[in-house]
C-alpha cells in the first residue's frame, strides 16, 4: 500500500485533472515556481508550464472573476486562495456572479475555488478561519470539505468534473498530519452525499473536515457521519443515521453560530424531532475570531477530550 498525505492527495487530484483535461488550469497567488503558500502545487509548474499553472497578482476579486469568465468560455479553472480567510475578498464575485448566473441565464460555470481553512497552525484571526458556513444556503453554490485522504482526492476530481461552481475547503492542519492509502486515479467522491464513516449505536456525530478524524478516534459506540458536502446538505443521510441512534451531536471547527450546525439543527427540528431521545448537541468553538496564542487556540479548538466530554453529556441526558 502506498501512503500519501492529505496534501499529496490534493496535489494528485490537481495533477490528474490537469493531465486528463486540457481545459483545466490553475490560477492563484504564488502557485507557480514557488508551489503555493503550503506547497500544494509544488512541481506542477515544472510539469505543466505557465499556461496551466498561472501566478496572479494579489487580487482575489479579480482572479476569481477571471476564472468565472474563463469558465463561461468553456475552460475549467481551479482557483487557489492562499487562506480561506481571504475568501471575504471575492465574496461578491462568488455569491453575485458565480452563484446566480446559471439560474438567470443557463450559462454553466464549471469552476473550483480551493480554500485552505481551519486552525491548528497558530494562524490567528486572519489565517485560521473556517468561513465555509457563509456559503451554506447560497443557491447555485456547492460547498465541499474533505475530511479524509481519499476524499481530498475524490472530492477534488468530482468538483473539477462538476458543471457548477464548487467551493473546496481543505483543512490546512490535515495537510501533513493526515496520511492514508493513495486513492486510485479513477476514484471520485460523489458531491451531495454524506458518508457513514463509522457505524455505531448510541449517538451520531455529524461532522466534516477536521472533525472526522477527531470523531473516529472516539472510544464510544457512536456513528460518525462525515457530511463531505455541506451544501446542498444531505438531509436524508442525517435523518437516516439519527433514526438509528436517536441522539445527534454536531462537531465543527467553525464558531457555534457559523458553520453547518444551524442547518443540521433545522433539519432535525423539522423532520427529526420524533427521532430524538435528547436535544441535539453542538460542540464548536466560541463565537470569536480564531485566537493566536497557543494557550488560547488550544482551548478554542475542539480536542479529543473536549469532544468526549460533550458526547458524554449528550449520552447522559
Amino acid at each position: 500500500m502506498t501512503e500519501v498525505t492529505y496534501l499529496e492527495a490534493v496535489r494528485e487530484g490537481l495533477t490528474g485533472a490537469l493531465r486528463d483535461d486540457e481545459r483545466v488550469f490553475l490560477l492563484g497567488e504564488d502557485i507557480g515556481h514557488f508551489g503555493g503558500a503550503f506547497g500544494v502545487t509544488a512541481g506542477l509548474y515544472d510539469e505543466f508550464g505557465p499556461k496551466r499553472v498561472l501566478d496572479t497578482p494579489i487580487a482575489e476579486e479579480g482572479f476569481v472573476g477571471a476564472a468565472i469568465g474563463a469558465a463561461w468560455q468553456g475552460e475549467r479553472p481551479i482557483v487557489e486562495l492562499q487562506f480561506a480567510d481571504f475568501i471575504s475578498c471575492p465574496f461578491d464575485m462568488i455569491v453575485t456572479v458565480a452563484a446566480k448566473t446559471h439560474w438567470r441565464s443557463g450559462i454553466r460555470l464549471p469552476l473550483v475555488i480551493r480554500a485552505p481553512y481551519g486552525g491548528g497552525i497558530r494562524g490567528g484571526p486572519f489565517h485560521a478561519s473556517s468561513p465555509e458556513g457563509w456559503f451554506v444556503g447560497v443557491a447555485g453554490l456547492k460547498v465541499v470539505c474533505p475530511g479524509t485522504v481519499a476524499d481530498a482526492y475524490g472530492l477534488l476530481r468530482a468538483a473539477v468534473e462538476d458543471d457548477d461552481p464548487v467551493l473546496f475547503f481543505e483543512h490546512k492542519a490535515l495537510y501533513r498530519r493526515l496520511r492514508g492509502e493513495a486513492p486510485a486515479g479513477d476514484m471520485r467522491t460523489p458531491i451531495g452525499k454524506a458518508h457513514v464513516a463509522r457505524e455505531g449505536a448510541d449517538a451520531t456525530v455529524i461532522t466534516y473536515g477536521s472533525g472526522v478524524q477527531l470523531a473516529l478516534a472516539l472510544e464510544h459506540d457512536v456513528e460518525v457521519l462525515d457530511l463531505r458536502t455541506l451544501w446542498p446538505l444531505d438531509r436524508d443521510a442525517i435523518l437516516a443515521s439519527v433514526a438509528k441512534t436517536s441522539r445527534a451531536l454536531v462537531l465543527q471547527e467553525s464558531p457555534r453560530a457559523g458553520g453547518i450546525a444551524g442547518h443540521v439543527f433545522s433539519v432535525l427540528a423539522q423532520d427529526g424531532f420524533e427521532l430524538l431521545d435528547a436535544p441535539a448537541a453542538l460542540h464548536a468553538p466560541p463565537d470569536t475570531p480564531v485566537p493566536f496564542a497557543p494557550e488560547l487556540e488550544d482551548a478554542y479548538l475542539p480536542t479529543a477530550a473536549s469532544l468526549a466530554a460533550a458526547l458524554e453529556e449528550l449520552l447522559a441526558y
Binding site: 487580487a59 476579486e61 476564472a67 469558465a71 468560455q73 475552460e75 450559462i107 446542498p232
Partner: protein, 315 residues
C-alpha cells in the same frame, strides 16, 4: 474619418440607435403607465456608443453590456421582443422572469448577463479573453465601465489583470458625467479616464466624443482589431451626457439645462448624415410596436418552475 465608415455601416449604426431610442421611449412610457414592474434604465444620449461597440464586434466575440447598452444587444442579434419579454417578466424571456429590465444575457449571442454590482464584469470579461488567448482563438471580449464602476476596486483589479496577462479584452468607458446623482468630479480627481488607463495600466486608450457615432465606431473598431491581432487589452473612452436619470424614478433635476444644451443628440447628429433617415426611424418605431405586442402575448412564468436551473448538475 467620416468617409472611412462605409455607408451600409453608417445606416446600420443609425438603425440600431433608432431602435434603442424607440424601445426606451416606449418602455419609459410603459413604466409611467404602471405596466412595468421594478425599474427602467435607459441609455438616452449614449445610444451611439452602444451601437458602435456592438457593431465593432465580430460574430464570435463576446460582450458583457451594462444597462445603457441596449443597442449592443440588438447588434448581437438580440431582438426587441426578447428585451420586452425581460422587462415584462415573461416566462419565455431571456431570464424567464427571474430578472428584470436590462439584467439579462443571451448566451447564444455571446452576451453575458448584467449584474448590478458595478465593476464585477470587468474581471469576468478579462477571464473570457484569457480563455481565447489560451486557445489561440482570434476572439475578443468586451465590457463597459462608467464613472461609477471606476470607483470600484474590481475594475482596477480587472484592468490590471488584463494588462499583466496581455489578453484580448476591450473596455468601453462610458463617461456620461454622472454616477446616479453624483457628478464625476465627486467620484475622482482626474476625470479623464483614458489618461488614467494609459498612465495607470499602460493600456492604449483613445478619448472620443460619444455623441459622434462614426468617430466612436472607428475608435472602437480599431481597438477591437488591435486586441484581436494580439496587441493586448484596449480601451476607448466615450464622452457623453446621461440623458435620463439613473433610472426611471430619477428626474435628474441635478443636471443643469446649460450642461444639457452643451451635448448634441447623437441620433440627430447621425441623422443629418444619412439618407432616408426618416424611413429608418419609422421602421424602428414599427418594429418596437410589433415587438411589444409579441412580448405582451407571451406566457407568464410558472412559479412551479422556480427551483429549476439553480444547478447545472443538481445533486
Amino acid at each position: 474619418m467620416l468617409t472611412e465608415v462605409p455607408v451600409e455601416t453608417r445606416v446600420e449604426l443609425f438603425r440600431l440607435i433608432c431602435l434603442q431610442r424607440a424601445f426606451e421611449d416606449r418602455v419609459m412610457a410603459l413604466y409611467r403607465q404602471g405596466r412595468i414592474s421594478g425599474s427602467v434604465y435607459t441609455g438616452r444620449g449614449q445610444e451611439a456608443v452602444a451601437a458602435a461597440a456592438g457593431l465593432a464586434l465580430g460574430p464570435d466575440d463576446v460582450v458583457a453590456p451594462l444597462n445603457r447598452e441596449l443597442a449592443t444587444h440588438f447588434a448581437r442579434g438580440v431582438t426587441p421582443a426578447d428585451v420586452f419579454r425581460n422587462f415584462l417578466g415573461r416566462g419565455d424571456g431571456p431570464t424567464q422572469g427571474r430578472d428584470g429590465n436590462m439584467h439579462f444575457g443571451v448566451p447564444a449571442k455571446g452576451v453575458f448577463p448584467l449584474v448590478s454590482m458595478l465593476g464585477d464584469l470587468c474581471p469576468v470579461i478579462v477571464g473570457a479573453a484569457l480563455a481565447f488567448k489560451r486557445r489561440r482563438e482570434p476572439r475578443v471580449a468586451m465590457t463597459f465601465l462608467g464613472e461609477g464602476a471606476f470607483s470600484v476596486g474590481d475594475t482596477h483589479e480587472g484592468l490590471n489583470l488584463a494588462g499583466v496577462w496581455h489578453v484580448p479584452a476591450v473596455f468601453v468607458l462610458q463617461s456620461n458625467g454622472w454616477s446616479y446623482s453624483t457628478p464625476a468630479s465627486a467620484q475622482m480627481v482626474n476625470t479623464n479616464l483614458a489618461e488614467r488607463i494609459r498612465g495607470g495600466w499602460s493600456i492604449p486608450a483613445e478619448r472620443v466624443d460619444g455623441t459622434d457615432a462614426l468617430a466612436t465606431y472607428e475608435a472602437i473598431r480599431a481597438a477591437v482589431e488591435r486586441a484581436r491581432s494580439g496587441e493586448g487589452p484596449q480601451a476607448v473612452e466615450c464622452v457623453t451626457l446621461r440623458g435620463h436619470g439613473h433610472a426611471a424614478h430619477d428626474d435628474a433635476r441635478y443636471v443643469s439645462a446649460e450642461l444639457r444644451a452643451s451635448f448634441p443628440d447623437p441620433l440627430e447628429r447621425l441623422a443629418a448624415q444619412i439618407e432616408d433617415a426618416d424611413a429608418i426611424r419609422q421602421a424602428a418605431a414599427e418594429e418596437v410596436a410589433a415587438a411589444l405586442a409579441e412580448a405582451e402575448a407571451a406566457p407568464a412564468p410558472d412559479p412551479a418552475q422556480l427551483e429549476r436551473g439553480v444547478y447545472a448538475m443538481p445533486v
